[in-house]
């Protein structure tokens, strides 16, 4: 079946612009995660949803970052007033349920954001 999809795959924004990144998780996956991966680094956790509830947003770097998942499926990560340091790949992952440690997170291909 289809995996996690993300759009757009690439986004170039001028500093100060707002951007919205979309994630379509695997159908039926309850848990959804957003990560930020800077060049040459591993993914770093941003936020986590279980269905429509945002249970953990401790990794969001500033109040310019906002995520939502209003119907418990598609999620959007919004970055307001983008800064150059926001340039990174934004990865979305989904899993059946974040319960114990046996679930596998399936990652999308990421959205590569470049802020000029």
């Amino acid at each position: 079946g289809a995996g996690v999809s993300q759009s757009p795959r690439y986004k170039v924004a001028k500093r100060g612009q707002d951007v919205a990144l979309r994630c379509d998780p695997i159908s039926g996956h309850v848990s959804l995660f957003w990560y930020q991966q800077a060049l040459g680094q591993g993914p770093e956790f941003l936020t986590y949803f279980q269905n429509e509830a945002q249970l953990d947003k401790s990794g969001l770097p500033s109040d310019r970052f906002f995520a939502e998942r209003p119907e418990g499926s598609v999620s959007t990560l919004k970055i307001q007033r983008t800064q150059q340091e926001d340039s990174a790949v934004y990865l979305c992952a989904s899993s059946l349920l974040r319960k114990g440690v046996q679930e596998t997170q399936y990652f999308g291909p990421g959205t590569r954001l470049l802020v000029l």
Binding site: V4, G40, G42, P43, R98, G108
Partner: protein, 112 residues
């Protein structure tokens, strides 16, 4: 000091060689250890996971955990050009609210 340390490479080895990839960590509460493979411009995919110290084998891949030394390894036997990718170690505690912590990844090139 970061919680998880991983040499970024790049590591270049000839086809057919045994590859050894390693990570060290500082948080003794980590109990669940994973290796992800990430091809260029793709998302990470889970290769292997282990719960405890010791070895776990899956085909050409062996994951090894030494909790006493806070050291984990991934061995790739009979390496192939298609193994060329970035390999990320990752780990977490057993607390369901805790996040996965990734290493920065090691870039591996298998030379034909």
């Amino acid at each position: 000091q970061k919680e998880v340390e991983q040499d970024p490479g790049p590591l270049s080895v000839p086809e057919g060689a045994i590859v050894s990839l390693n990570c060290t960590y500082s948080n003794s509460a980590f109990q669940y250890f994973m290796w992800y493979r990430q091809y260029s411009r793709k998302g990470p995919e889970l290769l292997m996971y282990t719960y405890s110290s010791g070895n776990k084998e899956d085909g050409r891949f062996t994951a090894q955990v030494d909790k006493s030394s806070k050291y984990i390894s991934l061995f790739i036997r009979d390496s192939q050009p298609s193994d060329s990718a970035t390999y990320l170690c990752a780990m977490r505690t057993m607390n369901r609210d805790d996040k996965i912590i990734f290493g920065k990844g090691t870039r591996l090139h298998i030379l034909p």
